[in-house]
C-alpha cells in the first residue's frame, strides 16, 4: 500500500516540477511609440524565421530596449495556431506574424478586427518603396496597409539548358504558349523528357500564372468570377493541349515537382523565383544546366506573374504594439536585412531599392552564368495587379477539380469551367 502511495507522490512531484518550468513572462513596460521597449514575439516559418532571427541583431542596435523572440513553425502549423488564437479572441497570439499573401484576404474576411491597420501607425509613407502588385496584395478594400510587404515570387520558366541544346531549341524563340508547346514536342522527341510537372488533380499554379499574366485571378477587378472569360478558357485550353501532347508529367505534390527536377524527367518548371533555391539545394549536381526564360504569353497578355510571397502582420491583441510596429517597419524597409534573406535563403524582397545591390546584378554560376535574379527583378514592376479575395483558396480547389476532369476524364473545357463557375457562385452565396 505504501509503495503505491509513494509512486503517486513521486508522480505528483514530477508534475509540480514540470509546472515550475514556466518562466515568468514580463509584460511590464511597453514604452511609448518613440522609444518602444519591452519584449515581443514573432511567428514565422523556416527560412523566413531564420531571416527574421538574423535581422533582430541589427534591429536591437537601433532599439536596444526591445527584446524580440522569433518562434519557428511550419506554415500549415502556424495557420492552425493563428486561427485558434484568433477564434479565441486573440488569446495566445504573438505580436508579429508572417503570412502568405494569398491567405491575407481570407483571414481579414473571417477576423475583420484581427489585425492592426498599419496606416494608422504610419506605414503609408512606404507606399512607393514596393511594386504595385505587392502593395495591392497587402492592402484592404479601403487601400490601407494591413500587412507590411516582404518577399515576392516573380514567375519564370526554369529550363534545362542541356535538353534545349540537344533538341536544338532556342529558349529565346519561345514567346507564346504555342511556341512553348512546339518546343516541348521537339524536346520530348530528342530527350524523352516531358515538358513540365503538374499535379493535375491538386495543383492549378500554372493556370494561376496564365491568368495573372492576363491581369486576372479567378476574379476580375470588379470582383466578378472570371472563370468563363476568354482568358480562362484559352489558359485551360493550353493546359489541355499540353496534356494531349503528353507533355505534362502528372507527379504528386511538392515532392513530385522536386523529384522531377532532380531526376531530369522534365525539361522545364514554370514557377516563382524562390524555386531557384530549391533547385540549387536539391540538385547540386545539375550546376550549369538550369537557366530561366520569362513565361510564354497569350495574345495581348504580358509575360509576367507572381507565385507566392509573404508579408508581416500585427494581431490586434498585441500588448506591445509600438514595439511590434517598430520591428515590422525596420524589418520590411531595411535593405540589409532584406538582402540577408535573399542571399542566404533566396527570399526575393519586394523592397525595390535592394535590386541595385551586386547580389542581384551579378551572374549566377549555378544558373548557366546568367544574371537570373536581375532578370526577375526587372519584371516585378510589370507584374499585373490582380484581385485576390477571401474565396481564392476555394476557387483554386475548384479549378484543380476542373483541370482533373478536363485532362483525365476528357470533359470539355467550356462545360467544366462553366460548372466550376456555378460552384463558386454557390460558395459565395453562403
Amino acid at each position: 500500500m505504501k509503495k503505491y502511495m509513494s509512486v503517486m507522490l513521486v508522480m505528483l512531484l514530477l508534475l509540480l516540477s514540470a509546472c515550475s518550468n514556466k518562466t515568468a513572462e514580463d509584460e511590464g513596460q511597453t514604452g511609448n511609440s518613440k522609444n518602444p521597449s519591452g519584449s515581443i514575439t514573432v511567428w514565422g516559418w523556416d527560412v523566413a524565421a531564420a531571416t527574421m532571427k538574423a535581422a533582430v541583431e541589427k534591429f536591437q542596435k537601433q532599439y536596444p530596449d526591445v527584446d524580440v523572440k522569433v518562434e519557428d513553425f511550419n506554415s500549415a502549423d502556424l495557420y492552425d495556431k493563428l486561427t485558434v488564437g484568433l477564434a479565441a479572441r486573440g488569446s495566445g497570439l504573438p505580436d508579429v506574424v508572417l503570412m502568405e499573401d494569398e491567405r491575407i484576404p481570407g483571414y481579414l474576411h473571417q477576423f475583420p478586427q484581427g489585425f492592426l491597420n498599419l496606416n494608422k501607425l504610419g506605414y503609408e509613407k512606404y507606399k512607393d518603396s514596393f511594386n504595385l502588385a505587392k502593395v495591392a496584395a497587402v492592402q484592404n478594400e479601403d487601400g490601407d496597409f494591413i500587412a507590411a510587404p516582404w518577399d515576392i515570387g516573380p514567375a519564370g520558366v526554369f529550363y534545362r539548358v542541356d535538353y534545349f541544346e540537344k533538341a536544338n531549341v532556342d529558349p529565346n524563340s519561345i514567346q507564346t504558349w504555342d511556341d512553348y508547346i512546339e518546343a516541348g514536342k521537339k524536346i520530348k522527341e530528342a530527350t524523352g523528357a516531358q515538358l513540365l510537372p503538374i499535379d493535375i488533380p491538386n495543383y492549378d499554379g500554372v493556370f494561376q500564372m496564365m491568368m495573372q499574366s492576363q491581369g486576372l485571378s479567378y476574379f476580375d477587378k470588379d470582383d466578378k468570377i472570371a472563370l468563363e472569360s476568354k482568358e480562362a478558357i484559352r489558359a485551360m485550353e493550353v493546359i489541355k493541349k499540353l496534356h494531349d501532347e503528353d507533355l505534362i508529367l502528372n507527379n504528386k505534390g511538392w515532392d513530385g515537382i522536386v523529384t522531377a527536377t532532380v531526376n531530369g524527367s522534365v525539361a522545364t518548371v514554370p514557377y516563382g523565383v524562390w524555386y531557384a533555391g530549391t533547385i540549387m539545394d536539391q540538385a547540386p549536381d545539375l550546376k550549369g544546366k538550369w537557366d530561366i526564360f520569362y513565361l510564354p504569353s497569350f495574345d495581348g497578355g504580358t509575360r509576367y506573374a507572381n507565385v507566392g510571397g509573404s508579408s508581416v502582420l500585427i494581431p490586434s491583441s498585441s500588448k506591445n504594439q509600438s514595439a511590434a510596429y517598430a520591428f515590422v517597419e525596420f524589418f520590411t524597409t531595411d535593405t540589409e536585412s532584406q538582402l540577408l534573406g535573399f542571399e542566404k535563403y533566396g527570399l526575393f524582397p519586394s523592397l525595390k531599392e535592394t535590386y541595385t545591390a551586386p547580389q542581384f546584378t551579378e551572374n549566377n554560376e549555378y544558373f548557366n552564368n546568367s544574371p537570373i535574379f536581375k532578370n526577375f527583378a526587372d519584371i516585378v514592376d510589370q507584374v499585373p495587379q490582380i484581385n485576390v479575395n477571401e474565396n481564392f483558396a476555394k476557387a483554386s480547389s475548384l479549378i484543380s477539380n476542373a483541370q482533373a476532369a478536363i485532362l483525365l476524364e476528357n470533359q470539355s473545357v467550356d462545360t467544366r469551367l462553366n460548372e466550376a463557375k456555378k460552384q463558386l457562385e454557390n460558395e459565395r452565396k453562403k
Binding site: 503505491y4 518550468n21 514556466k22 492552425d80 536539391q282
Partner: protein
Amino acid sequence: MASKKISSKIIIYILLIAGVVLSIAPFYWMIVGSTLPSGEIFRVPPRLLPGDYLAKNFQTLNESLGIAKIFWNSLFIALVYTLISTLISAMAGYAFAKFKFKGKNFFFFIILCTLMIPSQVTLIPLFEMMVTFNWLNTYQAIILPTLASPFAIYLMRQNMKAIPDSIMEASRIDGAGELKIFFTVILPVTRPAMAAVAIFLFMSQWNSLLWPLITLNSKEMFTLPVALSSLIGMARIDYGQLMLGTTLSTIPIMIFFLLLQKHFISGILGGSVKE
C-alpha cells in the same frame, strides 16, 4: 491431394510474403532514407542499401531540433500521461463496474457522451482555458486536459465487469480495505486490459500533434511530432533529416509495445484456460 495442399500453401505464402513486403517496405525505405543525403533520396533508380550519411543527418537534426530535449519532452509527457491516465481509468472503470451509487448510470452516460463530441469542438474553449491559466508552453497543458479518457474508462469498466463479485467479497471478509482490494486484488487481475489501455494511451499521446502544436510555442518545449512537423519548410525540406527523425520517433513506441506485450499476451492466454 498432397500436391494440391502444397500448391495452396505456396499461394498462401506468396500472399503473405507480399503482405510482409508491403508493410515493411515503407519502414525500410524510411531507415535507408535516414542514412542518405536529401538529394540522393530522389535518385532514380532509388538506392536500396543504406548510405553513410547517418551521422551527418543526425548532426543536422540535432542542430535544428536539439533532439535530446525533444525526446525528453515527448517521453516525459507520454509516460506521465500514460501512468496517471491508466490509473484513473482503472479506478473509474472499477467504480462503474462494481459499486452501486446514486446517478451511476447517469454519470456513465455522460462519460460516454463525451466520446461523441469531436475534439475540434473543444479545441478553442480548452485553448482559452490554458491561456487563462497562463499554461501555454507547459507540460501540464498537454497532460491534463485529456487525462480522463472516456474510451479507456469504458474499456476498463467492461473488463472489470467480468471479475466475479465473490473475489471482492472474500477479500472484504478477510478484512481488506477497499483501496487494498483495488490495488492488490483487482489491478493484478486486470493487468492485460491495463496493458492494452496503456499501449493505447501511450501511442495516442506520443503521436498527438494538433493539441501540443497549439499549446507549445518554443522549440525547447516541442514534442517529437511538433518538432518533426517544424522541419517541413516552405520550399526546402531536408528529407534525410526528416526520415531520421521519424525513424527515431518510432523506437520508443516499439520498446513500449514490446515491454507491455508480455502482459498483453499472457492475459489472452490466461483467459482462454479459465473457463
